[in-house]
């Protein structure tokens, strides 16, 4: 049932809305279908980013694809948390790992669990939405995660223009043409955490060069 609702919502309605009204153009979207399990990593400027990436998935995959969302923001109220979990299919995580001796869920564990189940993730390593067309420093979480799951492919995605259509702090969506460039799935080559973070960032930057 959830799979049907999500397929209808994203693969039909949201994709149509994004393409016709917002003006999103996908490049190399088929690349997502090439692997059964993936971690989508992308730059983050807008709430539309998650919508655009969910809509890029195939109906077959959609129920098994989870965007990673910040628990403090999207879990503010029970209703909001429910909507994020059900309609966005998101996993809510704390922004940082618990320090030694502290209780509380470990975000890496929460993400790892999904990968162990064979599910896929959508991850924004910049953490929160930044200014359009500017990269923020990538967080280490993506490195730790991919280091633990060396067999899982990651797919770099670069998005441009969505931050103009719906920037941070704006409630009014105004259509501007935007581009979602999907890279080919790959496994990380580096063996250490910082190396992986750098590798992923470089992959996304390489896609951004293509759009100029």
């Amino acid at each position: 049932m959830k799979r049907l609702i999500l397929s209808l919502l994203y693969c039909v309605l949201m994709r149509g809305f994004l393409k016709v009204i917002v003006g999103v153009v996908y490049r190399n979207r088929e690349a997502i279908k090439k692997v059964p399990q993936f971690v989508l990593v992308a730059n983050h400027n807008s709430h539309l980013d998650t919508m655009a990436l969910m809509s890029a998935c195939s109906p077959r995959m959609i129920a098994k694809t989870h965007p990673i969302a910040a628990g403090d923001y999207f879990g503010q109220s029970p209703i909001r948390a429910f909507f994020t979990r059900f309609f966005v299919n998101a996993i809510l995580i704390p922004r940082s790992r618990p320090k030694q001796g502290e209780a509380g869920p470990d975000p890496i564990e929460l993400m790892s669990e999904q990968l162990d189940k064979g599910h896929s993730l959508i991850l924004f390593p910049e953490g929160s939405r930044g200014e359009p067309e500017k990269f923020q420093k990538f967080k280490r979480g993506i490195g730790i995660l991919l280091d633990r799951h060396p067999g899982v492919h990651y797919i770099p995605v670069f998005m441009k223009g969505l931050g103009k259509s719906l920037p941070k702090g704006e409630a009014l969506l105004i259509p501007f043409n935007s581009l979602v460039v999907v890279g080919d799935p790959r496994k990380c080559k580096s063996r250490d955490i910082d190396g992986i973070v750098q590798e992923v960032e470089a992959a996304i930057r390489a896609l951004s060069v293509e759009t100029h």
């Binding site: 003006g23 704006e170 009014l172 501007f176």
Partner: protein, 327 residues
């Protein structure tokens, strides 16, 4: 006068398939079949010829012609929605590449988008006077007012001129195509609004193709080297002459006599050229080759309709003045 306006309101029901329109629809697809076969055989005879771009362009022409014919030949409501969508996509494209608008102006842009359904509603209703004045009078007052409400004055005069001009180009110009559909048939002229629409679109697009082709075949003397290096005098003159001949042959789509249609088609070709180079200049200012990448081989929506945005109102007002206003 009254007669003309009552015609606008009740002629929408009178759309019916007519032979003139069908001939030209057949002609459009005939040309496409011819071009497809030509490039296919040419590619077989001479495998070294680089026809990839021409073939891709032809494929895109098939797509555009099919959408255009489907959107105009059936239900008039579909036509108005389709042209409205075209205006919307063109405006979105122009707003997206434009760097002359301040960040504060994004909220004002929503008024530009909202003007589209209003303009097409006025066209659909056939309210001629409001249709003609809504953008150049009412929006030209409203947009600067909305801009000053944003609270900053720095760079505001640029935004005040850029936003309304974008609206004129993408919405006012293109909506004339839809408005033609409300023009009634006249005595001795059966094709009606659909005939006029087909005529202007066909002549404009053929002119683009002919200017391109003549320029490739004979072009030497550059006409505007700093703005559009591919445009030559040979291509321009060839396009104007060929368009005039095509207009002469297709005059039955319009109430014009054959000679009038020939002269008007020459004018259409000239104004199509103007639209083309104006958009080229905008692109050059921004530093892009194409306005988008939505139509393979052609670029963005604007790259394709740049000339139509100018030719549609020019043609409409000439024909309207000559045959509808004073009759």
């Amino acid at each position: 006068m009254n007669n003309v306006f009552s015609f606008f309101s009740d002629n929408i029901e009178k759309f019916s398939s007519n032979p003139e329109v069908m001939i030209v629809v057949g002609l459009i697809f005939g040309i496409l079949i011819f071009a497809t076969l030509l490039f296919f055989i040419w590619g077989k005879i001479n495998p070294q010829a680089n026809l990839a771009e021409l073939k891709q362009r032809t494929r895109s022409w098939w797509m555009m012609a099919t959408i255009f014919v489907a959107a105009t030949v059936f239900n008039p409501i579909i036509s108005f929605v389709a042209f409205g969508l075209l205006s919307f996509m063109a405006l979105r494209e122009l707003a997206s590449i434009s760097k002359n608008v301040r960040d504060e102006d994004r909220r004002v842009l929503i008024w530009c988008y909202l003007a589209i359904p209003v303009q097409y509603f006025l066209a659909y209703k056939g309210w001629h006077n409001l249709f003609l004045t809504f953008i150049p009078v009412f929006m030209f007052i409203w947009i600067p007012f909305m801009l000053i409400l944003q609270g900053t004055t720095e760079g505001i005069s640029r935004s005040m001129s850029v936003l309304p001009t974008q609206l004129m180009f993408t919405v006012f110009g293109i909506s004339h195509l839809a408005f033609m559909l409300t023009l009634p048939p006249l005595e001795g002229f059966n094709a009606g609004g659909r005939g006029l629409l087909l005529f202007i679109v066909f002549i404009t697009e053929m002119n683009d193709v002919f200017q391109f082709t003549w320029g490739k075949l004979l072009g030497h003397i550059k006409i505007l080297p700093k703005i559009s290096p591919n445009k030559t005098w040979e291509g321009f003159v060839g396009g104007v002459v060929t368009s005039a001949i095509v207009g002469y042959l297709l005059h039955f789509l319009t109430p014009l006599t054959a000679i009038e249609a020939m002269v008007v088609s020459g004018l259409i070709a000239c104004s199509g050229f103007i639209g083309d180079v104006v958009v080229s200049a905008i692109k050059r200012d921004i530093g892009k080759k194409d306005t988008g990448d939505i139509i393979p081989g052609h670029g963005g929506i604007l790259d394709r309709i740049d000339s139509l945005a100018i030719t549609a109102p020019v043609f409409f007002h000439i024909v309207f003045q000559m045959y509808y206003l004073n009759k």
